[in-house]
């Protein structure tokens, strides 16, 4: 069948940035991709998508991992009348070997469009477009090769994390180890949706939060430390004389709590007032490092706007030591999930749930003590639900 004409899409082959159109065309030997090109060109002409509301498809025994997709132009583009997405759980930190990549490519070449997202926004390997009949064969081959599906629907979503200790000097705990551990522990929660709504976990090794955990995860695990920042004064002096950095203005002057003093010779940090924001360390990586007493802060509740408005995660546990097998965090997860599953409304994220029942009540229910670190300030309104003893 002759290659389709795609004048509009062709415009997007131009320019220095790698082109997704070129990518699609690279796989255009697949008839599916031919029709995808045609349908997409049509969308570009008409300024409207041609996918219908997703239907429920999946692999046996799993409730998630596949996003069903059908088009509304089956006559014109029959090859993509079914064009489902498969979410494959990525290796922690998105590390691969060439061999691993080839294995995945071979499976996907045989059973799908050959198009992927590396990676989906939650972190999965996304296999973009196949038929219902291919789902079981793909699943069999994936598990054979040691891979499994990721999450979708009202389940625990595929956890993800930054490179952490694999490559970063600032990692305050083993983000990849932790992510692998929770993913394995909660395979059932990941594959069989049983929550009121989705629940995402993201693990960042330090407060720079390179996986946007605070904005995108129902549970955000953010590495931090409890003791003093490690300072190498000699190295500080080098930065001072290096001419690239104005320590007074750019480092001390930008410390959020103004807890850095710099007299031109020695850098003094009032660690009591340091909020572990990372800025000074970021600015002088050779001179400063997080302290030695490391762990993580656990925050909960981030989500996009739907329904009650977007939320960032908020502090649940100000500091916790991160030691395998992370039993305390698992207990916390179990307690939260139990409460939320029982009392959460349909499609109510845990962040919205907490606001509805009140953080104080939530903490009481899951048996966590209330500490002032959880809030920016105590209540200002006098509507207190006093409980008379």
């Amino acid at each position: 069948m002759a290659d389709r004409k795609t004048p509009l899409l062709d415009e997007l082959e131009k320019g220095p940035w790698p082109s997704f159109v070129k990518e699609i065309k690279k796989s255009a030997k697949s008839p599916m991709v031919q029709d995808l090109l045609g349908q997409l060109e049509r969308s570009y002409q008409e300024k409207i998508g041609h996918w219908k509301h997703g239907g429920l498809v999946g692999v046996r025994g799993y409730g998630g991992g596949v996003i069903g997709r059908y088009n509304d132009l089956p006559k014109e583009f029959p090859q993509v009348s079914e064009f489902h997405t498969i979410r494959v759980n990525q290796p922690a930190g998105w590390f691969y070997t060439s061999e691993a990549l080839r294995t995945l490519c071979d499976i996907w070449e045989k059973h799908g469009s050959g198009l992927t997202n590396m990676h989906g926004s939650t972190g999965d390997i996304v296999f973009l477009g196949t038929r219902t009949t291919e789902l079981e064969p793909i699943f069999a081959k994936l598990t054979e090769a040691g891979y499994d599906l990721g999450g979708s629907g009202s389940d625990m979503r595929t956890p993800s994390c930054c490179a952490g200790q694999a490559r970063c000097e600032w990692a305050c705990y083993d983000t990849m180890g932790f992510t692998y551990e929770v993913t394995q522990t909660y395979q059932d929660e990941l594959h069989r949706p049983a929550f009121p709504y989705k629940f995402k976990i993201k693990a960042a090794g330090c407060p720079n939060d390179c996986v946007a955990a605070v904005a995108r995860a129902d549970m955000s695990v953010i590495g931090t430390w409890r003791d003093a920042i490690q300072i190498d004064q000699a190295a500080v002096a080098e930065y001072a004389t290096g001419g690239k950095l104005n320590i007074a203005r750019d480092v001390a002057g930008r410390c959020p709590t103004r807890c850095i003093a710099w007299d031109g010779k020695t850098l003094f940090i009032d660690d009591e007032n340091c909020v572990k924001c990372m800025h000074c360390i970021n600015a002088m990586p050779k001179a400063l490092a997080p302290g030695k007493d490391r762990g993580a802060a656990i925050l909960v509740g981030a989500k996009a706007p739907i329904v009650e408005g977007a939320l960032l995660s908020s502090v649940l546990v100000p500091f916790i030591k991160m030691e395998p097998p992370y039993d305390d965090i698992k207990e916390l997860l179990n307690a939260m999930w139990e409460l939320w599953s029982e009392h959460g409304k349909n499609r109510e994220r845990i962040g919205e749930f907490i606001q509805r029942i009140g953080l104080g009540n939530f903490l009481e229910q899951i048996g966590l003590e209330v500490v002032p670190e959880m809030v920016t300030q105590p209540r200002t309104n006098p509507y207190i639900y006093y409980q008379l003893s």
Binding site: P18, S43, K47, T97, H191, N208, A215, K345
Partner: protein, 364 residues
């Protein structure tokens, strides 16, 4: 747990990452001392042992053919023992223990059309979503807008000359799969018309109570249209979020004429200096203009330029605006401040200026 026959493998989870780590990482795992960023796209991490790891970061369109993945694999074999990774913003990173191979690798990647950059105070890949390529909710395409934007912002990917990182994100509907709500520059596709209700199909396809419950503003009411149980929408109460469509296929939002794109600024995720912040509305609406969305590209370029010209070192977009104040931001960018910019949802009042702290002298 799983009720499957024993022979069928399930719930095995992802492969263990250790299998994929290069020796230099295995040996120095958790023992890194510091890093340097000698040029855009190249990171050198130095371990306490003295060992060094070079990471070379190349752009990807995220949507990739297996042909490209195989190409990456071949390149990895040739330059770094087959070890590579992808980043949280969809770039690819090749992991070298031999610094001598860095330049040749870069040359090769550039030649293949996967330019190197995106580190440091620069603009890296745009986190984005499916758009017309795969989603039913999309108010615009994702990949096309991103490609057009990155072509225009490309110099900032290759150089590290901005005051700080500028994180750009795109989402094709208010579900915000791109989590655009905390980006320096967020490009968000929007619907602007209430759902069109298909009273024929609705009774069969939608659960009415949950559809009614789905509306954040309570604009949906149960209704009976010629005998059929369906719903109606109080149009003045609709702000086009599309959540009804998510739960009910018979309430479609997409509209070629009125869908388009909004632009938001000043969000951040890191805790560095300022706490994480949401993005705030800069431009309520620009038209959907495929294939290259010129209006959107212009607007974003302009925002980056004004920021680059005025912000101080280490100041993220939102930190810069806080220093100069929003009135000045709108003056410098020449963007109109409209009724749409004032919040009117749940916590709107929290964004009102409740003091006399006003930059009275910056009228000019």
């Amino acid at each position: 747990m799983s009720a499957e026959p024993a022979k069928r493998k399930t719930d095995i989870g992802p492969p263990h990452y250790e299998k994929f780590l290069p020796p230099v990482i295995k040996e120095n795992y958790g023992k890194w001392k510091y890093h340097e960023n000698p040029r855009a796209g190249v990171l050198v991490h130095v371990a306490h042992s003295g060992a060094k790891l070079w990471s070379v970061r190349a752009a990807t369109p995220r949507l990739m053919s297996i042909e490209t993945l195989r190409l990456f694999a071949a390149i990895a074999d040739e330059f770094c023992g087959g070890y590579l990774r992808f980043t949280s913003r969809n770039n690819v990173e090749f992991l070298l223990s031999d610094g001598g191979k860095v330049d040749p690798l870069i040359a090769r990647l550039e030649k293949e059309g996967y330019p190197v950059g995106g580190t440091g105070p620069a603009i890296t890949n745009i986190v984005h979503t499916q758009g017309w390529v795969h989603c039913h909710s999309a108010a615009s395409d994702a990949s096309g807008v991103v490609k057009s934007l990155m072509d225009a912002l490309f110099p900032h990917f290759q150089k590290m000359e901005l005051p700080a990182k500028v994180r750009v994100a795109f989402a094709c509907c208010l579900n915000m799969c791109g989590a655009v709500h905390c980006s320096d520059i967020a490009v968000l596709a929007v619907h602007r018309k209430p759902p069109r209700i298909n009273n024929e199909t609705l009774p069969k396809t939608c659960e009415i109570p949950s559809t009614v419950a789905a509306c954040p503003t309570g604009a949906i009411r149960p209704a009976t249209v010629d005998g059929k149980q369906t719903v109606q929408v109080i149009e003045e109460q609709c702000m086009f979020c599309g959540n009804c469509f998510t739960v009910c296929p018979s309430m479609t939002m997409a509209d070629p004429e009125n869908d388009g794109i909004s632009i938001w600024v000043g969000g951040k995720v890191s805790n560095a200096r300022h706490e994480p912040m949401f993005s705030k509305l800069a431009i309520p609406y620009l038209p959907n203009n495929p294939p290259r969305w010129p209006e959107v590209v212009e607007a974003v370029k302009h925002l980056v330029e004004v920021y680059a010209k005025n912000a101080r070192p280490f100041e993220r977009m939102g930190e810069w605006i806080e220093r100069i104040g929003w009135p000045r931001f709108f003056k410098l960018t020449g963007l109109p401040f409209t009724k749409y910019h004032i919040d009117d949802f749940r916590h709107a009042g929290e964004s009102f200026r409740r003091s006399a702290h006003i930059r009275q002298s910056s009228q000019g």
